[in-house]
Protein backbone atom coordinates (compact mmCIF):
# COMPACT_ATOMS: atom_id res chain seq x y z
CA UNK A 1 0.00 0.00 0.00
CA UNK A 2 1.78 3.17 -1.19
CA UNK A 3 -0.72 5.76 0.05
CA UNK A 4 -0.90 5.56 3.83
CA UNK A 5 -2.85 8.74 4.58
CA UNK A 6 -4.57 11.61 2.79
CA UNK A 7 -5.54 15.11 3.84
CA UNK A 8 -7.30 18.16 2.45
CA UNK A 9 -6.13 21.39 4.04
CA UNK A 10 -6.43 25.12 3.29
CA UNK A 11 -3.46 27.00 1.86
CA UNK A 12 -4.21 30.35 3.45
CA UNK A 13 -1.34 31.64 5.59
CA UNK A 14 -3.69 33.22 8.13
CA UNK A 15 -3.86 30.29 10.59
CA UNK A 16 -0.08 30.07 10.51
CA UNK A 17 0.78 33.74 10.88
CA UNK A 18 -2.05 34.81 13.19
CA UNK A 19 -3.16 31.79 15.19
CA UNK A 20 -4.03 33.92 18.20
CA UNK A 21 -7.10 35.12 16.30
CA UNK A 22 -9.76 32.65 17.52
CA UNK A 23 -11.35 31.78 14.14
CA UNK A 24 -7.96 31.10 12.61
CA UNK A 25 -6.53 29.55 15.77
CA UNK A 26 -9.14 26.80 15.62
CA UNK A 27 -7.99 26.06 12.08
CA UNK A 28 -4.37 26.01 13.24
CA UNK A 29 -5.22 23.59 16.06
CA UNK A 30 -6.87 21.27 13.55
CA UNK A 31 -3.82 21.48 11.30
CA UNK A 32 -1.62 20.53 14.24
CA UNK A 33 -3.91 17.57 14.86
CA UNK A 34 -3.67 16.24 11.32
CA UNK A 35 0.07 16.81 11.43
CA UNK A 36 0.15 14.29 14.26
CA UNK A 37 -2.13 11.95 12.30
CA UNK A 38 0.17 12.23 9.31
CA UNK A 39 3.18 11.32 11.46
CA UNK A 40 1.26 8.36 12.91
CA UNK A 41 0.76 7.02 9.39
CA UNK A 42 4.56 6.72 9.14
CA UNK A 43 5.02 7.98 5.61
CA UNK A 44 8.33 8.18 3.81
CA UNK A 45 7.19 11.17 1.83
CA UNK A 46 4.52 13.88 1.80
CA UNK A 47 3.05 14.43 -1.67
CA UNK A 48 1.74 17.98 -1.97
CA UNK A 49 -0.44 19.56 -4.65
CA UNK A 50 -1.05 23.25 -3.94
CA UNK A 51 -3.51 25.41 -5.84
CA UNK A 52 -1.25 28.39 -5.21
CA UNK A 53 1.71 27.04 -7.14
CA UNK A 54 0.58 28.28 -10.53
CA UNK A 55 2.01 26.82 -13.74
CA UNK A 56 1.14 27.71 -17.30
CA UNK A 57 3.63 25.84 -19.44
CA UNK A 58 4.10 22.16 -18.61
CA UNK A 59 3.48 20.42 -15.29
CA UNK A 60 6.14 21.58 -12.84
CA UNK A 61 7.64 19.44 -10.07
CA UNK A 62 10.02 20.60 -7.39
CA UNK A 63 13.30 18.68 -7.75
CA UNK A 64 15.61 20.89 -5.69
CA UNK A 65 16.93 18.62 -2.92
CA UNK A 66 16.55 21.17 -0.12
CA UNK A 67 14.33 24.17 -0.90
CA UNK A 68 14.82 26.71 1.88
CA UNK A 69 14.01 30.35 2.30
CA UNK A 70 11.77 33.03 3.69
CA UNK A 71 8.53 33.81 1.91
CA UNK A 72 6.26 36.82 2.30
CA UNK A 73 2.71 36.36 1.09
CA UNK A 74 1.79 38.85 -1.59
CA UNK A 75 -1.55 39.65 0.00
CA UNK A 76 -0.96 39.12 3.73
CA UNK A 77 2.53 40.62 4.00
CA UNK A 78 1.64 42.58 7.14
CA UNK A 79 1.47 39.37 9.18
CA UNK A 80 5.15 38.54 8.68
CA UNK A 81 7.25 35.89 7.03
CA UNK A 82 6.81 32.22 6.24
CA UNK A 83 10.13 30.41 6.65
CA UNK A 84 10.50 27.07 4.90
CA UNK A 85 12.97 24.22 4.92
CA UNK A 86 11.94 21.18 2.89
CA UNK A 87 13.65 18.03 1.67
CA UNK A 88 12.61 16.71 -1.71
CA UNK A 89 12.39 13.04 -2.60
CA UNK A 90 14.17 13.72 -5.87
CA UNK A 91 14.06 10.09 -7.02
CA UNK A 92 10.28 10.01 -6.68
CA UNK A 93 9.91 13.43 -8.32
CA UNK A 94 12.05 12.38 -11.29
CA UNK A 95 10.06 9.15 -11.58
CA UNK A 96 6.81 11.12 -11.59
CA UNK A 97 8.13 13.49 -14.24
CA UNK A 98 9.07 10.55 -16.45
CA UNK A 99 5.76 8.80 -15.86
CA UNK A 100 3.45 11.69 -16.73
CA UNK A 101 4.29 11.22 -20.43
CA UNK A 102 2.15 8.11 -20.51
CA UNK A 103 -0.81 10.23 -19.37
CA UNK A 104 -0.18 12.83 -22.07
CA UNK A 105 1.17 15.36 -19.59
CA UNK A 106 4.44 17.14 -20.32
CA UNK A 107 6.37 17.67 -17.08
CA UNK A 108 9.44 19.55 -16.05
CA UNK A 109 11.54 19.67 -12.90
CA UNK A 110 12.32 22.91 -11.09
CA UNK A 111 15.70 23.18 -9.42
CA UNK A 112 16.52 26.83 -8.73
CA UNK A 113 17.79 28.71 -5.73
CA UNK A 114 15.27 31.38 -4.64
CA UNK A 115 12.48 29.72 -6.59
CA UNK A 116 9.28 31.20 -5.13
CA UNK A 117 7.78 28.27 -3.26
CA UNK A 118 4.11 29.14 -2.83
CA UNK A 119 2.33 30.02 0.38
CA UNK A 120 0.12 26.91 0.36
CA UNK A 121 3.02 24.51 0.07
CA UNK A 122 4.85 26.26 2.90
CA UNK A 123 1.79 26.29 5.15
CA UNK A 124 1.27 22.57 4.52
CA UNK A 125 4.88 21.71 5.13
CA UNK A 126 5.19 23.76 8.31
CA UNK A 127 1.96 22.57 9.90
CA UNK A 128 2.10 18.92 8.87
CA UNK A 129 5.81 18.31 9.27
CA UNK A 130 7.05 20.89 11.78
CA UNK A 131 10.14 18.87 12.65
CA UNK A 132 11.09 18.27 9.02
CA UNK A 133 10.95 14.49 9.48
CA UNK A 134 9.73 13.60 6.02
CA UNK A 135 10.79 14.17 2.47
CA UNK A 136 8.32 15.72 0.08
CA UNK A 137 7.25 15.70 -3.52
CA UNK A 138 5.51 18.89 -4.64
CA UNK A 139 3.76 19.61 -7.91
CA UNK A 140 2.10 22.67 -9.39
CA UNK A 141 -1.42 23.63 -10.39
CA UNK A 142 -1.28 24.13 -14.14
CA UNK A 143 -4.09 26.56 -14.90
CA UNK A 144 -4.93 24.78 -18.14
CA UNK A 145 -5.21 21.32 -16.61
CA UNK A 146 -8.73 20.14 -15.96
CA UNK A 147 -10.18 17.81 -13.35
CA UNK A 148 -9.24 14.64 -15.23
CA UNK A 149 -5.63 15.62 -15.82
CA UNK A 150 -5.29 16.62 -12.18
CA UNK A 151 -6.69 13.25 -11.09
CA UNK A 152 -4.00 11.67 -13.23
CA UNK A 153 -1.32 13.61 -11.37
CA UNK A 154 -2.50 11.94 -8.19
CA UNK A 155 -2.47 8.57 -9.95
CA UNK A 156 1.09 9.14 -11.13
CA UNK A 157 2.21 9.87 -7.57
CA UNK A 158 0.48 6.74 -6.31
CA UNK A 159 1.86 4.50 -9.05
CA UNK A 160 5.42 5.77 -8.84
CA UNK A 161 5.38 5.52 -5.06
CA UNK A 162 4.40 1.89 -5.43
CA UNK A 163 7.18 1.35 -7.94
CA UNK A 164 9.77 2.84 -5.61
CA UNK A 165 8.33 1.30 -2.46
CA UNK A 166 7.46 4.61 -0.81
CA UNK A 167 4.81 5.12 1.85
CA UNK A 168 3.06 8.35 0.89
CA UNK A 169 0.92 10.89 2.72
CA UNK A 170 -1.16 12.75 0.12
CA UNK A 171 -1.93 16.39 0.79
CA UNK A 172 -4.25 18.50 -1.34
CA UNK A 173 -3.74 22.16 -0.43
CA UNK A 174 -6.49 24.59 -1.27
CA UNK A 175 -9.64 26.29 -0.14
CA UNK A 176 -13.34 25.49 -0.33
CA UNK A 177 -15.64 28.38 -1.28
CA UNK A 178 -13.99 31.40 -2.79
CA UNK A 179 -15.90 34.56 -1.92
CA UNK A 180 -13.73 36.71 0.31
CA UNK A 181 -14.26 40.00 2.07
CA UNK A 182 -12.95 42.75 -0.17
CA UNK A 183 -13.03 45.30 2.63
CA UNK A 184 -11.12 45.25 5.90
CA UNK A 185 -12.98 43.26 8.57
CA UNK A 186 -12.64 42.69 12.28
CA UNK A 187 -10.74 39.43 12.00
CA UNK A 188 -12.20 38.15 15.26
CA UNK A 189 -15.57 38.13 13.51
CA UNK A 190 -14.41 36.29 10.40
CA UNK A 191 -17.13 34.13 8.91
CA UNK A 192 -18.07 32.53 5.57
CA UNK A 193 -18.96 35.47 3.35
CA UNK A 194 -21.82 33.80 1.50
CA UNK A 195 -24.63 31.76 3.07
CA UNK A 196 -25.14 29.87 -0.17
CA UNK A 197 -21.46 28.98 -0.35
CA UNK A 198 -21.48 27.98 3.31
CA UNK A 199 -24.35 25.62 2.57
CA UNK A 200 -22.52 24.13 -0.41
CA UNK A 201 -19.34 23.65 1.62
CA UNK A 202 -21.23 21.80 4.31
CA UNK A 203 -23.01 19.56 1.79
CA UNK A 204 -19.71 18.62 0.24
CA UNK A 205 -18.02 17.94 3.56
CA UNK A 206 -20.95 15.74 4.56
CA UNK A 207 -20.42 13.68 1.39
CA UNK A 208 -16.76 13.30 2.28
CA UNK A 209 -17.60 12.28 5.82
CA UNK A 210 -19.98 9.65 4.47
CA UNK A 211 -17.46 8.45 1.89
CA UNK A 212 -20.08 8.96 -0.79
CA UNK A 213 -17.74 9.14 -3.76
CA UNK A 214 -20.41 8.87 -6.41
CA UNK A 215 -22.24 11.85 -4.93
CA UNK A 216 -18.98 13.79 -4.73
CA UNK A 217 -18.12 13.08 -8.34
CA UNK A 218 -21.56 14.26 -9.37
CA UNK A 219 -21.55 17.33 -7.16
CA UNK A 220 -18.04 18.67 -7.62
CA UNK A 221 -18.53 20.41 -11.00
CA UNK A 222 -21.60 22.28 -9.74
CA UNK A 223 -19.98 22.92 -6.38
CA UNK A 224 -16.94 24.44 -8.09
CA UNK A 225 -19.18 26.84 -9.95
CA UNK A 226 -21.78 27.65 -7.30
CA UNK A 227 -19.32 28.05 -4.43
CA UNK A 228 -16.59 29.70 -6.51
CA UNK A 229 -14.36 26.93 -5.22
CA UNK A 230 -10.65 27.55 -5.13
CA UNK A 231 -9.24 26.65 -8.57
CA UNK A 232 -12.23 24.52 -9.46
CA UNK A 233 -11.54 22.36 -6.40
CA UNK A 234 -8.83 20.55 -8.39
CA UNK A 235 -6.86 19.78 -5.23
CA UNK A 236 -9.59 17.26 -4.42
CA UNK A 237 -9.23 15.75 -7.90
CA UNK A 238 -5.55 15.20 -7.13
CA UNK A 239 -6.47 13.49 -3.88
CA UNK A 240 -9.10 11.31 -5.54
CA UNK A 241 -6.60 10.20 -8.17
CA UNK A 242 -4.01 9.50 -5.51
CA UNK A 243 -6.45 7.49 -3.40
CA UNK A 244 -7.34 5.35 -6.40
CA UNK A 245 -10.77 6.96 -6.54
CA UNK A 246 -11.74 5.35 -3.28
CA UNK A 247 -12.01 6.14 0.43
CA UNK A 248 -14.45 4.96 3.06
CA UNK A 249 -15.12 8.23 4.86
CA UNK A 250 -13.46 11.26 6.32
CA UNK A 251 -13.07 13.21 9.53
CA UNK A 252 -13.57 16.95 9.24
CA UNK A 253 -11.29 18.25 11.99
CA UNK A 254 -12.35 21.83 11.38
CA UNK A 255 -14.39 23.88 8.97
CA UNK A 256 -14.27 27.65 9.09
CA UNK A 257 -13.66 30.98 7.47
CA UNK A 258 -10.48 32.50 6.13
CA UNK A 259 -11.35 36.13 5.41
CA UNK A 260 -14.73 35.01 4.12
CA UNK A 261 -13.56 32.04 2.08
CA UNK A 262 -14.17 28.50 3.25
CA UNK A 263 -11.44 26.24 4.55
CA UNK A 264 -11.51 22.75 6.00
CA UNK A 265 -9.04 20.35 7.54
CA UNK A 266 -10.08 16.90 6.40
CA UNK A 267 -8.52 13.51 7.08
CA UNK A 268 -9.63 10.73 4.76
CA UNK A 269 -10.21 7.14 5.87
CA UNK A 270 -8.46 4.84 3.43
Amino acid sequence: MSVVSAFLIPGSPLPYVQRDNPPWGAMADALDKVGAALADSEPDVIAIYSTQWIAVLDQLWQVRPNPTGLHVDENWHEYGELPFNMRTDTALAEAAIAATDSYGIRSKGVDYDHFPVDTGTIVASNFLDPDNQFKSIVTANNLYHDWGITENLGRVVREQSEQLGRRVALVGVGGLSGTFFRQVIDIADDHIASEQEDSWNQRLLAMMTAGDIEALNNACPEYAQQARADMGFKHFAYLLGGMGGDFSGAVVHHYGALYGTGGAVVEFKL
Partner: protein
Protein backbone atom coordinates in the same frame (compact mmCIF):
# COMPACT_ATOMS: atom_id res chain seq x y z
CA UNK B 1 6.13 73.04 -3.66
CA UNK B 2 4.80 73.29 -7.20
CA UNK B 3 1.94 71.08 -8.29
CA UNK B 4 3.05 67.73 -9.60
CA UNK B 5 1.98 66.29 -12.91
CA UNK B 6 1.99 63.20 -15.02
CA UNK B 7 4.36 63.77 -17.91
CA UNK B 8 3.87 60.52 -19.80
CA UNK B 9 2.26 57.13 -19.79
CA UNK B 10 3.64 54.03 -21.42
CA UNK B 11 2.20 50.68 -22.27
CA UNK B 12 5.17 48.66 -21.06
CA UNK B 13 4.66 44.88 -21.15
CA UNK B 14 6.65 42.54 -18.97
CA UNK B 15 7.54 39.25 -20.68
CA UNK B 16 10.71 38.14 -18.87
CA UNK B 17 11.95 36.90 -22.24
CA UNK B 18 12.92 40.48 -23.07
CA UNK B 19 15.34 40.62 -20.14
CA UNK B 20 16.59 37.15 -21.02
CA UNK B 21 17.18 38.22 -24.61
CA UNK B 22 19.13 41.29 -23.51
CA UNK B 23 21.52 39.41 -21.16
CA UNK B 24 21.96 42.09 -18.48
CA UNK B 25 24.40 41.30 -15.70
CA UNK B 26 21.58 41.09 -13.15
CA UNK B 27 19.97 38.07 -14.86
CA UNK B 28 21.69 34.74 -14.35
CA UNK B 29 20.50 32.79 -17.43
CA UNK B 30 22.23 33.60 -20.72
CA UNK B 31 20.69 33.71 -24.19
CA UNK B 32 21.71 34.21 -27.80
CA UNK B 33 19.29 37.12 -28.06
CA UNK B 34 15.75 37.03 -29.34
CA UNK B 35 12.64 39.26 -29.34
CA UNK B 36 14.72 42.10 -30.85
CA UNK B 37 11.72 44.00 -32.24
CA UNK B 38 10.39 44.51 -28.74
CA UNK B 39 13.79 45.11 -27.19
CA UNK B 40 14.57 47.76 -29.78
CA UNK B 41 11.14 49.26 -29.11
CA UNK B 42 12.12 49.59 -25.47
CA UNK B 43 15.43 51.19 -26.51
CA UNK B 44 13.48 53.96 -28.23
CA UNK B 45 11.24 54.38 -25.19
CA UNK B 46 14.31 54.53 -22.94
CA UNK B 47 15.74 57.40 -24.96
CA UNK B 48 12.51 59.37 -24.66
CA UNK B 49 12.27 58.67 -20.94
CA UNK B 50 15.79 59.99 -20.53
CA UNK B 51 14.77 63.31 -22.06
CA UNK B 52 11.72 63.60 -19.81
CA UNK B 53 13.75 63.49 -16.59
CA UNK B 54 10.95 62.21 -14.36
CA UNK B 55 11.15 62.17 -10.58
CA UNK B 56 9.42 58.84 -10.29
CA UNK B 57 8.16 55.83 -12.25
CA UNK B 58 4.86 54.27 -11.20
CA UNK B 59 4.18 50.72 -12.33
CA UNK B 60 0.99 48.68 -12.04
CA UNK B 61 1.78 44.98 -12.40
CA UNK B 62 -0.58 42.05 -13.04
CA UNK B 63 1.86 39.69 -11.34
CA UNK B 64 1.47 41.21 -7.91
CA UNK B 65 -2.06 39.96 -7.40
CA UNK B 66 -3.89 41.05 -4.27
CA UNK B 67 -7.34 39.95 -3.24
CA UNK B 68 -7.98 42.37 -0.45
CA UNK B 69 -7.44 45.86 -1.76
CA UNK B 70 -4.91 47.76 -3.84
CA UNK B 71 -1.42 47.57 -2.37
CA UNK B 72 1.60 49.86 -2.72
CA UNK B 73 5.26 49.08 -2.13
CA UNK B 74 6.12 50.95 1.04
CA UNK B 75 9.71 50.04 1.92
CA UNK B 76 12.32 52.56 0.82
CA UNK B 77 14.93 50.06 -0.34
CA UNK B 78 14.05 46.63 -1.64
CA UNK B 79 16.49 44.08 -3.01
CA UNK B 80 16.79 40.38 -3.62
CA UNK B 81 16.59 37.75 -6.31
CA UNK B 82 13.38 37.44 -8.27
CA UNK B 83 12.82 34.05 -9.91
CA UNK B 84 9.90 33.86 -12.29
CA UNK B 85 7.62 31.04 -11.11
CA UNK B 86 6.45 30.38 -14.68
CA UNK B 87 9.76 30.82 -16.51
CA UNK B 88 12.44 30.11 -13.90
CA UNK B 89 14.73 28.87 -16.66
CA UNK B 90 15.02 32.35 -18.19
CA UNK B 91 14.48 34.83 -15.36
CA UNK B 92 16.54 34.79 -12.18
CA UNK B 93 17.20 38.47 -11.63
CA UNK B 94 19.03 40.27 -8.82
CA UNK B 95 17.07 43.45 -8.25
CA UNK B 96 17.67 46.52 -6.17
CA UNK B 97 15.26 49.43 -6.19
CA UNK B 98 14.38 52.60 -4.35
CA UNK B 99 10.75 53.32 -3.57
CA UNK B 100 9.24 56.79 -3.41
CA UNK B 101 7.47 55.97 -0.16
CA UNK B 102 6.02 59.45 0.29
CA UNK B 103 4.23 59.28 -3.04
CA UNK B 104 3.17 55.66 -2.45
CA UNK B 105 1.62 56.67 0.87
CA UNK B 106 -0.14 59.58 -0.79
CA UNK B 107 -1.55 57.26 -3.47
CA UNK B 108 -2.68 54.79 -0.83
CA UNK B 109 -4.36 57.47 1.29
CA UNK B 110 -6.01 59.07 -1.71
CA UNK B 111 -7.31 55.70 -2.92
CA UNK B 112 -8.82 55.09 0.51
CA UNK B 113 -10.40 58.54 0.53
CA UNK B 114 -12.00 57.75 -2.80
CA UNK B 115 -13.54 54.57 -1.44
CA UNK B 116 -11.06 51.88 -2.38
CA UNK B 117 -9.58 49.39 0.04
CA UNK B 118 -5.86 50.15 0.00
CA UNK B 119 -2.83 49.02 1.91
CA UNK B 120 0.88 49.78 2.20
CA UNK B 121 3.33 46.89 1.89
CA UNK B 122 5.84 47.46 4.70
CA UNK B 123 7.57 44.09 4.90
CA UNK B 124 11.28 44.47 4.02
CA UNK B 125 11.54 40.80 3.05
CA UNK B 126 8.88 41.13 0.37
CA UNK B 127 9.84 39.66 -3.01
CA UNK B 128 8.98 42.13 -5.75
CA UNK B 129 7.15 40.38 -8.59
CA UNK B 130 8.79 39.72 -11.93
CA UNK B 131 6.26 41.85 -13.84
CA UNK B 132 7.25 44.98 -11.94
CA UNK B 133 10.95 44.17 -12.30
CA UNK B 134 10.82 43.34 -16.00
CA UNK B 135 8.92 46.49 -16.92
CA UNK B 136 11.24 48.66 -14.83
CA UNK B 137 14.37 47.02 -16.20
CA UNK B 138 13.22 47.34 -19.78
CA UNK B 139 12.34 51.03 -19.46
CA UNK B 140 15.18 52.12 -17.18
CA UNK B 141 17.96 49.53 -16.76
CA UNK B 142 20.04 52.00 -14.75
CA UNK B 143 17.55 51.69 -11.85
CA UNK B 144 18.32 55.28 -10.85
CA UNK B 145 14.78 56.67 -10.67
CA UNK B 146 12.61 55.98 -7.59
CA UNK B 147 9.54 53.86 -8.19
CA UNK B 148 6.06 53.27 -6.87
CA UNK B 149 4.89 49.68 -7.29
CA UNK B 150 1.14 49.03 -7.34
CA UNK B 151 -0.53 45.65 -7.08
CA UNK B 152 -3.24 44.35 -9.37
CA UNK B 153 -6.30 43.87 -7.21
CA UNK B 154 -8.17 40.93 -8.67
CA UNK B 155 -11.50 42.78 -8.86
CA UNK B 156 -11.83 42.42 -12.69
CA UNK B 157 -11.72 38.65 -12.21
CA UNK B 158 -13.67 38.40 -8.97
CA UNK B 159 -16.32 40.91 -10.00
CA UNK B 160 -17.28 41.56 -13.62
CA UNK B 161 -14.70 43.03 -16.00
CA UNK B 162 -16.61 46.30 -16.06
CA UNK B 163 -16.90 46.54 -12.26
CA UNK B 164 -13.24 45.70 -11.84
CA UNK B 165 -12.12 48.26 -14.37
CA UNK B 166 -14.28 50.89 -12.69
CA UNK B 167 -12.12 50.34 -9.61
CA UNK B 168 -9.00 50.79 -11.71
CA UNK B 169 -10.46 54.03 -13.02
CA UNK B 170 -10.85 55.27 -9.45
CA UNK B 171 -7.32 54.11 -8.66
CA UNK B 172 -6.05 56.12 -11.61
CA UNK B 173 -7.82 59.27 -10.43
CA UNK B 174 -6.44 58.76 -6.93
CA UNK B 175 -2.95 58.33 -8.36
CA UNK B 176 -3.23 61.58 -10.29
CA UNK B 177 -4.35 63.51 -7.21
CA UNK B 178 -1.48 62.07 -5.18
CA UNK B 179 1.06 63.00 -7.86
CA UNK B 180 -0.30 66.53 -8.04
CA UNK B 181 -0.29 66.92 -4.26
CA UNK B 182 3.26 65.69 -3.81
CA UNK B 183 4.76 67.80 -6.58
CA UNK B 184 6.22 64.88 -8.53
CA UNK B 185 6.88 64.74 -12.26
CA UNK B 186 5.73 61.20 -12.88
CA UNK B 187 5.77 58.63 -15.65
CA UNK B 188 3.17 55.87 -15.52
CA UNK B 189 3.93 52.34 -16.71
CA UNK B 190 1.07 50.02 -17.56
CA UNK B 191 2.66 46.59 -17.43
CA UNK B 192 0.27 44.77 -19.73
CA UNK B 193 0.33 42.45 -22.70
CA UNK B 194 -2.46 42.82 -25.27
CA UNK B 195 -3.75 39.50 -26.73
CA UNK B 196 -2.77 36.90 -24.15
CA UNK B 197 -3.32 33.64 -26.00
CA UNK B 198 -0.04 31.78 -25.76
CA UNK B 199 1.63 28.51 -26.64
CA UNK B 200 1.65 25.76 -24.03
CA UNK B 201 5.09 24.50 -24.97
CA UNK B 202 8.34 26.36 -24.92
CA UNK B 203 10.82 26.00 -27.79
CA UNK B 204 14.30 24.72 -27.15
CA UNK B 205 16.16 27.02 -26.89
CA UNK B 206 13.53 29.53 -25.69
CA UNK B 207 15.01 32.25 -27.90
CA UNK B 208 14.51 30.27 -31.13
CA UNK B 209 12.74 33.03 -33.05
CA UNK B 210 11.82 30.67 -35.87
CA UNK B 211 9.11 29.43 -33.47
CA UNK B 212 7.78 32.86 -32.52
CA UNK B 213 4.56 34.17 -34.04
CA UNK B 214 1.05 35.12 -32.90
CA UNK B 215 -0.66 32.17 -31.27
CA UNK B 216 -4.08 33.30 -32.38
CA UNK B 217 -4.96 35.07 -35.60
CA UNK B 218 -8.17 36.62 -34.27
CA UNK B 219 -6.23 37.90 -31.28
CA UNK B 220 -3.61 39.38 -33.59
CA UNK B 221 -6.30 41.16 -35.58
CA UNK B 222 -7.72 42.56 -32.35
CA UNK B 223 -4.28 43.82 -31.36
CA UNK B 224 -3.86 45.59 -34.69
CA UNK B 225 -7.31 47.16 -34.44
CA UNK B 226 -6.62 48.47 -30.94
CA UNK B 227 -3.13 49.71 -31.78
CA UNK B 228 -4.45 51.52 -34.82
CA UNK B 229 -7.04 53.29 -32.67
CA UNK B 230 -4.40 54.14 -30.07
CA UNK B 231 -2.09 55.52 -32.77
CA UNK B 232 -4.96 57.71 -33.97
CA UNK B 233 -5.68 58.90 -30.45
CA UNK B 234 -9.22 57.48 -30.46
CA UNK B 235 -9.06 56.70 -26.76
CA UNK B 236 -12.79 56.92 -26.15
CA UNK B 237 -13.37 54.30 -28.83
CA UNK B 238 -10.64 52.11 -27.37
CA UNK B 239 -12.37 52.10 -24.02
CA UNK B 240 -15.75 51.46 -25.61
CA UNK B 241 -14.28 48.34 -27.20
CA UNK B 242 -12.13 47.31 -24.26
CA UNK B 243 -14.48 44.74 -22.64
CA UNK B 244 -15.03 43.04 -26.00
CA UNK B 245 -11.29 43.08 -26.72
CA UNK B 246 -10.60 41.56 -23.31
CA UNK B 247 -13.20 38.89 -23.85
CA UNK B 248 -12.30 37.90 -27.40
CA UNK B 249 -8.51 38.30 -27.27
CA UNK B 250 -8.10 37.11 -23.66
CA UNK B 251 -6.28 40.43 -23.28
CA UNK B 252 -4.18 40.98 -20.19
CA UNK B 253 -5.33 44.59 -19.99
CA UNK B 254 -8.19 43.06 -18.01
CA UNK B 255 -5.91 43.15 -14.97
CA UNK B 256 -6.28 46.90 -14.86
CA UNK B 257 -2.97 48.65 -15.55
CA UNK B 258 -4.07 50.06 -18.90
CA UNK B 259 -7.26 51.55 -17.44
CA UNK B 260 -5.40 52.85 -14.36
CA UNK B 261 -2.89 54.65 -16.59
CA UNK B 262 -5.42 56.25 -18.90
CA UNK B 263 -7.66 57.28 -16.03
CA UNK B 264 -4.71 58.93 -14.32
CA UNK B 265 -3.97 60.83 -17.56
CA UNK B 266 -7.69 61.74 -17.83
CA UNK B 267 -8.15 59.74 -21.04
CA UNK B 268 -6.50 62.23 -23.43
CA UNK B 269 -7.59 61.89 -27.06
CA UNK B 270 -3.92 61.84 -27.93
CA UNK B 271 -2.13 59.78 -30.57
CA UNK B 272 0.20 57.25 -29.00
CA UNK B 273 3.69 56.68 -30.35
CA UNK B 274 4.14 53.02 -31.17
CA UNK B 275 7.73 52.05 -30.44
CA UNK B 276 7.18 48.48 -31.57
CA UNK B 277 5.04 45.37 -31.50
CA UNK B 278 6.03 41.74 -31.17
CA UNK B 279 4.94 38.40 -29.87
CA UNK B 280 6.34 36.46 -26.93
CA UNK B 281 5.36 32.78 -26.78
CA UNK B 282 2.52 33.87 -29.01
CA UNK B 283 1.15 36.76 -26.92
CA UNK B 284 0.85 40.26 -28.41
CA UNK B 285 2.98 43.01 -26.91
CA UNK B 286 3.17 46.68 -27.82
CA UNK B 287 5.48 49.31 -26.38
CA UNK B 288 3.58 52.60 -26.74
CA UNK B 289 4.06 56.06 -25.35
CA UNK B 290 1.76 58.98 -24.64
CA UNK B 291 4.09 61.90 -24.08
CA UNK B 292 2.15 64.68 -22.41
CA UNK B 293 5.08 67.10 -22.62
CA UNK B 294 5.24 66.83 -26.42
CA UNK B 295 1.48 67.22 -26.54
CA UNK B 296 1.64 70.43 -24.52
CA UNK B 297 -0.29 68.88 -21.66
CA UNK B 298 2.64 68.86 -19.22
CA UNK B 299 5.70 70.99 -18.58
CA UNK B 300 9.21 70.06 -19.69
CA UNK B 301 11.81 69.73 -16.94
Amino acid sequence: MSQGEIIAGLLAPHPPHLVFGENPKQNEPRSKGGWEQLRWAYERARANLDEMKPDVLLVHSPHWITQQGHHFLGVQHLSGRSVDPIFPNIFRYDFELEVDVELAEACCEQAAEMGLTSKMMRNPNFRVDYGTITTLHMIRPQWDIPVVGISANNSPYFLSTEEGLEEMDVLGKATRKAIEATGRRAVLLASNTLCHYHFSKEPIPPEDMSQEHPENFEGYLWDMRMIELLREGKIQEVFRLLPQFIDEAFAEVKSGAFTWMFSAMDYPELAGELHGYGTVIGTGNAVMEWNLIKAGLAQAA
